[in-house]
Amino acid sequence: MIWVLGETRGDALAPVTYEALGAGRLLAGPFKRGLSLLLLGEGMDDLSKGVLKKADRIYLIEHKLLNSYTGYGYKKVLEEFFKDKDISALIIPGTSMGRDLAPLLSVSLGLSCLTNITGVEVINNTVHVKRPLYGGKIVETLALEGSAVISIMPRSFKEPEASERQGELIRVEARLTEEDLRVRPIEVLREIERREITEAEVLVAGGRGVGGPEGFHILEELASALGGLTAASRGAVDAGWRTHASQVGQTGKVVSPKLYIACGISGAPQHIAGMRTSRYVIAINKDPNAPIFREADLGITGDLFEVIPEVIKEIREIKGIQEGKP
C-alpha cells in the first residue's frame, strides 16, 4: 500500500497534501497498489470531502491530542496504526511538520528515510526518485529497493486527477495521553496574514539592491498586483530589512513558484540554491554582469525603482482592461 500523510492549513487541507497524493498516485499506478490518505485530528469529515476521489481509502485517525502536531504524538499513533499493515512507501509533506516527523517515524517503523524528493518515476518496475544536492547544483537519482518514508518538496508534484470511484472513509480511534507527547505546544504565534512563501505561486524577491526596508513597499505593490508574496535574499535579511521567514536560499527556504522575480539580487550560489526550481524567473538588476541573469528567463537591466513602477502600471492597465470587459 502507498500511504500519504495529509496536512491541514487553517480550515483546509494544505496544498502540499494534494501534491503528496499526486506523488502517491505516480507510485501506486504502475504497481497497481492502493493509495491511502491519513488525516489526523478531530473534525476532518468536511475536509475529507474534497479528496474522496483522490485516494482509494481515507483514514480519519481521531483524537483531541492530534489536533495540533507533536512529533511523538503522531509517531505513537502511527506506529500503532501501521502495526498490522504493509507499507511500500509513506509520503509525507516536506513542511515544518513533515521534516520533524519523517526521521522519527522512519526509525520507529524501521524504514529508510528520503527527504526533499522532487520527482518520482517508475522505470522497469523500479521506483526512481530525484532530489537536489548541494543547493540544487546537482540532481541525484536514487532507485528504491524497499520500503521508505519519502518526504516531498512542496510545489514539486501535481495534484492527481479525480478518479471515478469514491474513496472509502474509515474512522480510527487513536489512543494517546498527554505524557506520550513529550514536547508540549504552549502557544502558536500567527503572523497576521503571513502566507507561506513556499506555497506561493508568484514571488517578488528583493535583495540588498532594494536599499532599505522602505524600498520593499514597491515590491509589495508588484507582488499584490500579481497575486503573490514578497521574499528576500540573505543580503536583505541580514541588513534587518526583512525577517528570516522570508529568506530564500541555502540557509533560508527553497521555493518553487510559477514565477520568481528577483529585484536587486546579485545571484550568489547560496541564493540560487533556494530558487532554481522556479518555473519562470525574471531578474531586475542594474548591473548587466550580475550572475542572477544566468538563472533568468528574462533579464531587465536597470534601476529597480524605475523598472518596477513601470511594470505595475502596465499590469494595472491590462487588468483594468480585462475587468472592464463584460
Partner: protein, 260 residues
C-alpha cells in the same frame, strides 16, 4: 549543562561542483566546510555553557576530514572532541549515521544534544530526528529561540512553522536542531585557536564502539546517477530604454507565464 553537538562536513556552499565521467560521484577537488547550521549549534552550546556551566562535547562521524571542523569548534570554546573515523562510514545514509552517533552518545552523560537543522549537502535533516528517536528523547526541530531552565530541567523553544511560529516546552534531556537566526556567531580567538591545536581529539572507530558492519540497517535505496539540473531558461537579457524593456517583460508575463 553537558551539551553534545553533532557536526557534519559539507562541500563549501559557494564551490563549483563537477560530476565524474562515470556520472556517479563528484570530482573531489572542492573545499569542505563545517555545515553552516552546525555553527549555530556550537554557538548556542557555548552560550548555554557560559551561563550555566558544564561542558560542550563535539562529535563528528565520517571516513575523513573531521579534524578540521572539530578544531574550529574548540577554537570558539568547546571542550571535548570526539571523532568516529572509519572507512566503513563512506557513503553511509543518515539513519545509519544516527545509529553510530547514538552508540557513542549513549556512553556519555548529557543534558542536551544540538544538531544542525539540516546539512547543506543534501538538505536532508534526518540525522537529528533519527538520533532523538533512537535515544528516545524529546525532539524539537528548526529552533530559532532556546531557553533553558536548568532548575526545572526543562527547555522552552520557538520553532518556525508555516504562517508563524510555535513555542513548545519539553523536559531535558532533549535534542534540538538549530536554524539560522538562533544566535549571532562569534569568531575564534587567538588563544582559542592555540588551545584547539594542542587539544587531543578522542578518536574512535566502529569496532571500538561495538558496531559491526552488519549492525547497520538496510538502506533501501541506491544511487543511480548524478546529473546537472536541466535549466531550459530562455536567458534573454534586455538592455536600454526602460519602457521598451518593461513592455517586453509584460508580454512575456502575458504570453508565456500566462498570469495576466
Amino acid at each position: 549543562m553537558n551539551i553534545i553537538v553533532c557536526l557534519k562536513r559539507v562541500p563549501d556552499t559557494g564551490a563549483r561542483l563537477e560530476i565524474e565521467k562515470d556520472g556517479m560521484e563528484l570530482k573531489p577537488d572542492f573545499p569542505w566546510i563545517l555545515n553552516p547550521y552546525d555553527e549555530f549549534a556550537i554557538e548556542e552550546a557555548i552560550r548555554i555553557k557560559e551561563r550555566f556551566g558544564g561542558n560542550v562535547t563535539l562529535i563528528t562521524v565520517g571516513p575523513e576530514g573531521g579534524e578540521e571542523i572539530l578544531k574550529r569548534g574548540v577554537a570558539t570554546g568547546a571542550d571535548v572532541e570526539v571523532y568516529v573515523k572509519d572507512p566503513l562510514l563512506q557513503g553511509l545514509d543518515e539513519i545509519n549515521i544516527a545509529k553510530v552517533l547514538s552508540a557513542v552518545i549513549s556512553t556519555i552523560p548529557f543534558d542536551m544534544i544540538l544538531c544542525g537543522k539540516q546539512g547543506t549537502d543534501s538538505d536532508s535533516g534526518v540525522v537529528g530526528g533519527a538520533l532523538a528517536g533512537l535515544l528516545d528523547i524529546p525532539l524539537v526541530s528548526a529552533v530559532k529561540r532556546l531557553n533553558i531552565l536548568p532548575e526545572e530541567r526543562q527547555a522552552h523553544a520557538l520553532r518556525e512553522v508555516e504562517g508563524g511560529a510555535e513555542v513548545v516546552e519539553c523536559p531535558l534531556p532533549a535534542l534540538f536542531t538549530t536554524h539560522k537566526g538562533l544566535n549571532e556567531l562569534r569568531y575564534p580567538t587567538l588563544s582559542g585557536i592555540m588551545r584547539a591545536k594542542k587539544q587531543e581529539i578522542r578518536c574512535l572507530d566502529l569496532k571500538s564502539i561495538g558496531i559491526a558492519a552488519n549492525h547497520f540497517s538496510n538502506r533501501n535505496f541506491r544511487r543511480v546517477g548524478l546529473s546537472y539540473p536541466l535549466l531550459n531558461r530562455r536567458g534573454i537579457i534586455l538592455k536600454g530604454d526602460i519602457k521598451r524593456q518593461v513592455q517586453e517583460a509584460v508580454t512575456f508575463l502575458k504570453d508565456e507565464v500566462r498570469i495576466l
